[in-house]
């Protein structure tokens, strides 16, 4: 991997909560425009990792660089999509989607233009004046995805964003995500415990160990798209990842 192609560089990342070692000396790089999935057993510190990346937690040791610089949320354009519904309940769908653009002080025309684009992409056109309380789970998650894509993030972090959705909705939103990712060329770090989801979405998969968490293995995933979850090579990769994180 050439140096200028690296979007995120994680070196010797270590995080302790008191005496409990959660992340143990993790190092890896993420390429510009790459779709990276991180999988691991439940409770292995996946979320701790993302929270360290976004500076919600202070690091115990190590370093995280974006474009070769330490993370600065004011400077780096990062969007974060969580499993919990995080649309602002007091804003309408449209206001939610425009929120990040307003914060970043884009011109009114630019805000409208970008909002219209993402609204079209996620199909929320008929619900602009609705409040989150009036929406279904999948629509809520679309609002959050639209809000994230509207700011055209250089880095998109997703923490089990579809964990609470049923299978058919998940498939739909996964395809939508791939479409948006291809269109925008943003770098995505996607955390999930769902192996099939990881193989379906990613270009590369990092498999984590149980606590204290290390990287167990890195798997390249060159399968052509659109992917077929029943295809032989798909199943082979899925089984391989499953074997790696099996604890039984």
């Amino acid at each position: 991997m050439s140096e200028e192609n690296i979007k995120v560089r994680v070196t010797n990342l270590t995080k302790k909560f008191g005496d409990l070692l959660v992340l143990d000396d993790i190092s890896f790089d993420v390429k510009q425009g790459e779709f990276l999935c991180i999988v691991g057993p439940t409770g292995c510190g996946k979320t701790t990792f993302l929270n360290s990346l976004t500076k919600l937690y202070d690091l115990t040791a190590g370093e995280i660089l974006i474009n070769g610089e330490p993370v600065d949320l004011k400077k780096h354009n990062i969007a974060y999509i969580l499993q919990e519904y995080s649309a602002f309940p007091w804003l309408t769908v449209e206001e939610n989607i425009k929120y990040g653009l307003k914060i970043k002080k884009f011109s009114a025309e630019e805000i409208q233009k970008r909002a219209d684009e993402v609204i079209e992409m996620v199909g929320l056109k008929d619900y602009l004046s609705y409040y989150p309380d009036q929406l279904s789970a999948s629509m809520l998650q679309r609002v959050v995805i639209a809000r994230a894509f509207a700011v055209q993030p250089e880095l998109l972090l997703m923490d089990e964003p579809y964990g609470q959705l049923d299978v058919s909705l998940r498939f739909k939103l996964e395809d939508e995500l791939i479409r948006l990712w291809k269109k925008t060329g943003t770098t995505v770090i996607f955390i999930t415990h769902n192996i099939e989801e990881a193989v379906y979405l990613s270009e590369r998969i990092l498999v984590l160990t149980n606590k204290p968490t290390k990287i167990k293995k890195e798997i390249n995933n060159p399968l052509p798209r659109p992917r077929d979850v029943t295809a032989e090579d798909f199943v082979a990769i899925r089984n391989h990842v499953t074997d790696l994180i099996k604890w039984w």
Binding site: L56, L73, L82, E84, S86, P89, T92, I103, Y131, Q134
Partner: protein, 262 residues
């Protein structure tokens, strides 16, 4: 759906009218057929006095004048209490230091009734309008503050994290996340504070007042004119109800997002 809503509204109104009518009937019954008639005036007598007081002054003013003074006192004391209460409450809810410093003092002062402050307030502000605003302020400040405090404490940390991630400054986190998220709680506090502000009117108008709804009650009490006392009580009740209704309408507008199921 709409039809059902209208139906429910009409039903509620009917119940409200029935409840109030029953109250007045019970009052009339008790003051006509029981020993209470010796001491307590009935609704008709009070109503007559109320109606005349719109034309004939009680003391210096008719009811309009008294209403003007009381409403002005309540609104000034209450508005200052609301603004300061929101600021103090949200600061307590968002800053550990503010909480650690303000909360103990606050908890200590909170149980002291507004009336107890009268001597001090007179000493500080004399007997003009200022001490009256101060008493009403004291009567309403706590409720707004405590509710704003609870509201700020209950803000979903996920939302704060998301806002921060989208590059929101600390100032904007306060204005765009914590404040709107606390609004329903703040309104609940403002609603309670509005009633306690009216309760404090009586205490406020004990301070050298020559006018006001509280003063009407005090005047009636001093001259053992019980119908006059009741006229003062009825006026405070009705105006309080009126203001609370306006407040509820404002809440529906501001916190529309929080009432989706209503």
């Amino acid at each position: 759906m709409k039809k059902k809503f209208v139906g429910e509204k009409a039903e509620k109104t009917i119940y409200a009218i029935l409840a109030i009518a029953t109250f007045f009937l019970a009052w009339a019954f008790i003051t006509t057929f029981t020993a209470a008639k010796e001491t307590t005036p009935g609704p008709i007598e009070v109503l007559k006095l109320l109606v005349t007081s719109f034309f004939q002054p009680i003391g210096r003013y008719t009811v309009y004048g008294h209403l003007y003074y009381s409403i002005r006192r309540v609104l000034i004391g209450y508005t200052v209490a609301t603004v300061l209460g929101i600021i103090v409450g949200l600061s307590m809810g968002t800053s550990r230091y503010a909480e650690a410093i303000i909360k103990p003092i606050f908890e200590m002062i909170r149980p002291i009734p507004p009336i107890a402050w009268i001597p001090l307030v007179i000493l500080w502000f004399g007997v003009g309008e200022l001490p009256k605003y101060a008493i009403i302020f004291i009567g309403s400040f706590t409720n707004v503050t405590l509710n704003a405090y609870t509201g700020a404490q209950r803000v979903d940390p996920t939302l704060v994290g998301c806002a921060r991630m989208l590059g929101t400054s600390e100032r904007d986190i306060f204005l765009r996340v914590i404040l709107p998220s606390s609004m329903p709680q703040i309104f609940a506090g403002m609603q309670v504070a509005l009633s306690t502000a009216w309760m404090a009117v009586l205490a406020a108008e004990m301070i050298g007042a020559q006018e006001g709804c509280g003063w009407i009650i005090l005047r009636g009490s001093d001259t053992t004119n019980i119908p006059l006392v009741l006229v003062g009580m009825v006026i405070i009740g009705v105006v309080g109800l009126f203001l609370a209704t306006i407040m509820r309408m404002a809440e529906r507008k501001v916190c529309a997002w929080n009432r989706m199921d209503v």
